[in-house]
């Protein structure tokens, strides 16, 4: 029966798919671990910078000479930093980002949008929809981005903001909450929020430190670093979410393939049994006819 042969072929191909998705799951798992290590390695640095910003922010931002990256502007141009993945097969990861993006764009209808895109998927969306592309940040690819590359991106975005190409910069990225939870999130990155920077921490040490050369000079140096660490963290969070999402979707694909294989095998066995039965009946019938 042709049916049986067909079933056999299907069982085999489902099995092959299962092997592939399983391998991809394993690759995603190891890569995920590597990215987490990378994010963790720069954690202390981000913390130190943040602490410094907090201990200086309150007084540095209360004066009338606020650093440019903190200045609110009235203009109509909004930059959107869109962080997506380079590759597919990561479940609804990109689709979730895009649906958030549509919502955000609905809210920003009045404004002139410029897109700064990380990830091939985001780039092809922007191209297809004919959105206004500010820059495609494709070099190096997200997977290989280190702190120094994030710093370069940060400098570039800061330049776009201070030169007036955009009056504010919003980020659409995926926040990493846990291995099973990641959430597309949007917030305003530039101008930097003075409130957030000015949260005081009291470490129980002598405060009112000596400031050399001066508070403004130190703070001015600090702000770009602060932006760098934030952008690096955004990129790392997105990347971690992408791989967590890929891992989960590959796992469910593997599970689904396994189930499908079991179901098909059942059907196959039934068909084979049926064939044996009919064959037996034929033989028995033939033997009876002869005798």
């Amino acid at each position: 029966m042709a049916n049986i042969r067909e079933l056999k072929v299907r069982i085999k191909s489902v099995g092959n798919i299962r092997q592939i998705t399983r391998a991809m799951e394993m690759v995603a798992t190891t890569k995920l671990r590597r990215f987490q290590d990378r994010a963790v390695a720069s954690g202390p640095y981000s913390e130190e910078i943040e602490k410094l910003v907090q201990s200086l922010g309150a007084s540095a931002l209360s004066g009338d000479q606020v650093p440019p990256l903190f200045q609110e502007r009235a203009g109509k141009k909004t930059g959107i930093l869109l962080i997506t993945s380079d590759r597919g097969l990561c479940g609804a990861y990109n689709a979730n980002i895009f649906s958030l993006l549509r919502k955000v764009m609905g809210e920003l209808k009045e404004r002139e949008l410029h897109f700064y895109v990380v990830g091939k998927k985001g780039y092809s969306l922007v191209q297809k929809q004919g959105y206004n592309l500010g820059a495609y940040l494709s070099d190096p690819p997200l997977e290989l981005i280190g702190y120094r590359d994030a710093a370069t991106i940060s400098r570039f975005l800061a330049e776009e903001f201070t030169s007036g190409k955009v009056d504010e910069l919003r980020v659409v990225y995926t926040r990493f909450l846990s291995m099973a939870k990641y959430q597309p999130t949007e917030f305003k990155l530039l101008p930097l929020s003075a409130e957030k920077a000015a949260q005081q921490d009291d470490g129980g040490f002598q405060s009112h430190p000596i400031l050399e050369p001066s508070q403004d000079v130190i703070f001015e140096r600090l702000v770009p670093k602060y932006l760098e660490t934030r952008i690096f963290n955004l990129l790392m969070e997105s990347l971690t979410s992408e791989y967590a999402s890929r891992m989960v979707s590959m796992k469910s694909a593997t599970d689904a393939a396994g189930e499908m294989q079991a179901d098909l095998r059942k059907v196959f066995n039934r068909a084979r049994q049926e064939r044996i039965t009919t064959e037996l009946l034929d033989i028995v019938g033939g033997a009876e006819a002869i005798s």
Binding site: F205, P209, E212, P213, I218
Partner: protein, 159 residues
């Protein structure tokens, strides 16, 4: 990224349980924590010149410039680190130790400084500065040259 030895001496539980006559020092870069441990004194370059820190120093926040950090460890030995730009914070905990936190772009033990690379970088920076091209980023090239020279100097001290 250069893999390297973690030059950390005995770990402490932070500055609070430290005797008054010691510093708790932490040097952090974007790649990792380069050094965390105790010291008797240290000296590092700021934009306004060298600053020496002894236990009991008043709280201070300052900018760190490219240069050589010199640190005296509890056993009296000297160690050096090549620092590039960043920030330095001194926290004076009353009645306890003094904390020195350096948050810099890079910090290297002279042992791991790549001599050839530094020489190449110095040469490249000199060449760029010699070109009378308006397109070059003068401060950046000067910064690169300074970094390279400090690395070479560190190598000499170590030898």
């Amino acid at each position: 990224m250069v893999a390297s030895v973690q030059a950390t001496n005995q770990p402490t539980n932070g500055p609070r349980d430290l005797p008054k006559d010691l510093l708790y020092v932490k040097i952090t870069t974007p790649d990792r924590v380069v050094f965390e441990g105790k010291a008797r004194s240290l000296q590092f370059p700021t934009e306004d010149g060298l600053v020496g820190i002894l236990p009991g120093h008043a709280s201070m926040i300052t900018t760190v410039d490219v240069g050589l950090l010199k640190m005296k460890l509890p056993d009296g030995k000297l160690t050096y680190f090549v620092l590039t730009r960043g920030f330095g914070e001194v926290r004076h905990h009353f009645g306890n130790g003094t904390e020195v936190r350096l948050t810099v772009d890079s910090g290297e033990n002279p042992e791991i400084v790549d001599l050839e690379r530094a020489q190449r970088a110095a040469e490249r920076a000199r060449r760029r500065l010699a070109e009378k091209d308006i397109k070059i980023d003068q401060p950046r090239a000067e910064y690169a040259l300074k970094r390279a020279l400090i690395r070479l100097q560190a190598k000499k001290i170590q030898m």
